[in-house]
Symmetry: C2
Subunit: 454 residues, 2 copies
């Protein structure tokens, strides 16, 4: 759905679906790290860790949000066997119609259309021929729509970030546990060719015992942010209301998998710092006419936000975010251990006592370490898939899990933990880089060692 | 001087020259950043900012510490016109004799030798034919020897880091101000060809308004640290007693210059985090015989230490340290602004809206931006100078300032501020990454904008 930022905010506020940070209870122990915003829930909720999908030969999908991303991933789903698209929804009817024709061109029956107002998705969710909703709307809609989907008995697959407040992270966890539905964040970078290869290298001990990871989302989005269409309609808004890491999951997800976060380890606390805000001001001055309403906006998000995360087992992660300055695209995607390290952009490896001290390209390791998913489906993925094929691999694997009645690779606890650095970094920045604790969304079950895409 | 770590510590302790962190008064304001260890001094000390050297056609040098580094930089000083070496000193007589023959081979009169015990340097400092002492001893000796030099009326030029506690940073500042002698840290990386080129690019506005810097000392020193000679005799010791950034200045010095630290801005506070300690354990297990006394050592310094520094004007710096894991040598040396960035290893540049989004090698910018020092002396520097020539440029420039009666490029406030992240990172790590304030060693004069090597 495409909205202007004002209407998103006011709408959500009116319907009381959106809670501001100010409303959260905050307690800090002086001299030690700050407590989480919201204490871990201690109710009788039963975990959804390892909960398998109900097996089903054909899975029925509804698309909520038919913008660029929604329609793009829709195409990926349609390229996988066993997916039937029964309904599509967007605030803008033309977008929904375009999505419908994408489904039609794939040779499927015409899906139902829900469009034209902000409650359309609720009508879609009342249908009984939908197994899962894929939610690709602006960030503020992810939680209300995912919660509504689960309460209607549908699995909810949401775009990144899943949530932008800690309360909303808990809401996803609580709802998934209460409804016994999965709420997954479709973090495509976890399925990248190099990311999955790195997993195999780590398992083989190539880098020895792990020590630290580094990751980022460094992506110059200034042009997109100021467009009068698509994400330009709403994605500047967070820059006017939040100062922290707005988009942590593309960098953090893969590194979390390298370290087995929520599968034997967990994020313990973070500290965060922001540079001054200058990038959006400079872009606006250079490109936006002086009579544009965009001149009423005040940008408060520091251009670079950098956080350091400590895990319960003592490992550390650095996490950066910058979308408003000139920088070559970079997620860093580094994992280091006692015997060597892997670093992306471009993908390269350095192993112990190499002379001269130079990185080697990852190519020589491909035969040995390429992930079985890429061996099986890489050729098709590269042909039909967005972002180098990882989008396709992600949906292919997800559909495979649903059809075979397997537990998904990622779960609501990952969605919550990987989204949490958003609000936690804001809080740390606000408090002059004080350490802020992560909630334990797994309620203690992070200690259970589990493989990831083994 | 070469000592075994135990004797360094016990000796200093006995003579009460070395204060432990535990002895420092620490106060923390809950919910805000921690106060500095030691409140700024408010005495009547007069700043040495901008204080010119007394001009002198020939400057007389004494060398304290005739190990690898001391003898290497001695050769650089001897390659500059107008330097006369009058005395050399080392605990080990053979090292002092070797330094003497270096002086002799340069065609100079034989310098006096002071050697054989730990008070030899005091006798050297009693001479009246020494203008400055260059101190290249193990870290714990830098402050007592620099203080003694200044109290004997000599300028003190010390190796990095100048000090390892905040009290000792203040001791250098207080003594320089009281004695009206300069205490400089010979941070060679400030004189590197790319570092000085970056300064010119920044001044020309190539990167726009500055936002953040990144720097590091990532240097695999495991082999050196375990040798039974040279730095192997004492440089493992800090890994048994400190957990933080042991060696911040090579990375931080150049970035401080880019940002005008102490010349219009200053370091405000830092937060720091360490990875687990694993590198030295693994190396020892693989290389050290089981009956070696080295097996009695317990290493407590996290392999990677990472800090984030906020400046008073709001800029930020990330600073890393790792000397015990496999990693290609890297000081990062990054400076980013609204129009682009410079990043080293290898030196490269990215400017606004470049398509494709790729770094360009720095070579194309060399004609326009090479620093005048390198234009004047680069050829000689590359021929005779260590570390690609920057060692020579550093001493060449220092001698130039002394002979012409100019204020030095760097001063005791830089030595203190750049060394401070050592103890401040230790304190932050100890407190679970709490923010720790930098003392203002300039007592307020950091606000004065001054050029650097203009």
């Amino acid at each position: 759905m495409a909205f202007d930022p004002t209407s998103v905010r006011s709408h959500l506020s009116r319907r009381d679906l959106f809670r501001t940070t100010a409303a959260a209870a905050i307690s800090t122990a002086a001299g030690t790290q700050a407590a989480p915003f919201v204490p871990p829930q201690t109710g009788s909720q039963k975990s959804v860790i390892g909960m398998p999908f109900e097996p089903r030969d054909s899975v029925r999908m509804a698309l909520i949000g038919c913008g660029n991303r929604g329609t793009g991933v829709l195409r990926e789903f349609l390229a996988v066997d066993g997916v039937q698209v029964t309904a599509v929804c967007d605030l803008v009817r033309e977008h929904a119609l375009e999505a419908r024709s994408v489904v039609e061109r794939a040779g499927q029956k015409l899906p139902a259309i829900y469009a034209g107002n902000e409650t359309a998705f609720e009508k879609l969710l009342a249908r009984d021929d939908v197994d899962f909703a894929y939610i690709a709307t602006p960030w503020d809609w992810h939680v209300p729509q995912a919660v509504a989907a689960m309460k209607s008995g549908k699995h909810a697959f949401v775009e990144v970030p899943a949530a932008t407040t800690i309360e909303d992270c808990w809401k996803l966890v609580d709802t998934a546990e209460a409804t016994r539905r999965h709420c997954l964040m479709l973090e495509n970078c976890c399925y990248g060719e190099t990311e999955l290869m790195a997993i195999n290298m780590i398992r083989d001990g190539l880098f020895g015992d792990l020590l630290y990871g580094e990751c980022a989302y460094l992506h110059d989005l200034r042009r997109l942010l100021f467009e009068d269409r698509s994400e330009g309609l709403w994605r500047r808004a967070p820059h006017t209301s939040r100062n922290g890491n707005l988009y942590p999951t593309h960098g953090l997800g893969p590194v979390a998998n390298y370290m087995g976060i929520n599968r034997g380890d967990r994020f313990d606390y973070l500290v965060s710092m922001s540079s001054p805000q200058r990038g959006l001001d400079a872009w606006r001055a250079a490109h936006v006419p002086s009579d544009s309403p965009k001149w009423k906006e005040k940008y408060i998000c520091g251009d670079l936000n950098s956080s350091m995360i400590k895990t319960a087992s003592g490992l550390m992660i650095t996490l950066q975010h910058d979308v408003v300055n000139p920088h070559p695209y970079d997620r860093i995607n580094l994992i280091a251990g006692t015997k060597g390290l892997f670093r992306d952009y471009p993908p390269r490896i350095y192993l112990d006592e190499k002379k001269p001290e130079e990185y080697a390209p990852v190519d020589a390791y491909k035969d040995k370490y390429q992930h079985t998913l890429w061996k099986r489906q890489g050729e098709l993925a590269r042909k039909v898939g967005g972002h180098g094929g990882m989008d396709f691999l992600m949906v292919y694997r997800l559909v495979e899990c649903m059809r075979t009645g397997t537990a998904p690779d990622l779960d609501v606890y990952d969605a919550a933990a990987w989204s949490a650095p958003g609000p936690l970094s804001e809080e740390s920045v606000k408090r002059g880089s004080q350490p802020i604790a992560f909630p334990d969304f797994t309620r203690g079950r992070w200690r259970e060692k589990r493989g990831w895409l083994a």
